[in-house]
Symmetry: C2
Subunit: 203 residues, 2 copies
DNA sequence: TATTGGGGTGACCGATCGGTACATTAAAGA
DNA sequence: TCTTTAATGTACCGATCGGTCACCCCAATA
């Protein structure tokens, strides 16, 4: 017993944002986007990063943790960016254009991660699924707020929440056909979608 | 050798549309929608249908076959219905409304199957994935045709194909938030979405 | 030189994976 | 009654699953 005067377990906290960890997150996102969370094994993630299973688990705590971090990372960015736009731009129309472009650019630039974020929520356990759905709901609230402001200014008409969900689905579903190297770049698509939204909500 | 005068292997074709098989398809669709194709085991499908693995494999040929049949069944219906609307209705605006309602009603009435159809394509092997994507493309062609007709009649403006993909994504992504027993029924949502589409494409 | 500790290896754990083989049951037809 | 056949249960196959474990390597420090 007395030899436990040294720390009984240092627990070795593996530095939340170590470069190796970021690499793992990135590789895993790409694999999950390709074949789904349950379709990818941990040894496969290890191989793709050049790590054995032991080394892999030195950097992550579980496979599901990996999924959770992937799904939350860029969704949080999206919310932060959205709030910044809400604060810095007051004109409802320009606001909509800025939100639209920001959304499409984020999806396009982090296509694997966003694909996982939109498509693999069901693989999370109940508690974490709730947390991610709450983030989605927070993001929708930003658009909802923006549309309400336009309504208050007399520029927009009221729309049911299902229509807002539909309009956002227009963006969210784009991970299936979006080609980041395609002829139309993300900014152009974002502008085209903004026009659809504006035509839908303008008086 | 001579005793093989009887069929060397009757192969027992398990009646493509046996009631048991339909039940399996239905149960599997629900499970896949809940936890994803790779997240559900075949024994679990057996348990949910009250069948052992042996009995299950008497009705299906492989787990992937199951997925393929689920993804194609109602997508084919959607295409058939869409073509019928294209043939029977010439007014572009009413056509759009009818296509919109039919789509939302099918999604709502077969939510599990459509969820699998929109979300689990990646779990199919290359050949079958191509086949399913081809069905999706066929369905998009119906809307595209309808919009072209409206353009020829001078009622619609031309839109880029990415906008059409986006508008369809509005419907396709609804599997995530749609509640078939919710306050707004599918027909109402279909009408609301039709208005969004019409506002987007009208001159 | 001795000690420490971050980072990594590879064997191993029990459980489950998709799929098959085969015996069995029940009903129908001869 | 005897044979066929649709339908099912069960034991089993090799492979892989997510995760853990004891051990090791090596650079920095004392």
């Amino acid at each position: 017993m007395t030899e436990q005067l040294t720390q009984p377990k240092p627990a070795t906290p593996p530095r939340k944002a170590s470069p190796t960890r970021l690499k793992i997150l990135q590789v895993a996102a790409s694999l999950f986007a390709d074949r789904g969370f349950s379709g990818v094994g941990v040894n496969e993630i290890g191989e793709a990063t050049g790590l054995g299973r032991g080394a892999l688990y030195y950097h992550i705590s579980s496979k599901e943790d990996l999924l959770y971090d992937i799904t939350t990372a860029y969704m949080s960015d999206l919310i932060a960016d959205g709030k910044a736009i809400l604060d810095s731009e007051v004109d409802p129309i320009i606001r909509t254009q800025k939100l639209s472009r920001a959304l499409m650019m984020t999806i396009s630039e982090h296509l694997s991660e966003m694909t996982v974020c939109f498509r693999e929520i069901h693989a999370l356990t109940a508690e974490r699924r709730r947390a991610v759905l709450s983030l989605h709901s927070d993001y929708q609230a930003i658009w909802s707020q923006s549309l309400s402001d336009g309504l208050a200014k007399g520029q927009f008409r009221p729309i049911p929440s299902t229509v807002l969900k539909g309009l956002l689905g227009m963006y969210f579903y784009s991970f299936l056909w979006l080609d980041p190297r395609g002829p139309q770049n993300a900014a152009d698509i974002g502008d085209a979608f903004a026009e659809v939204v504006l035509r839908a909500v303008r008086v």
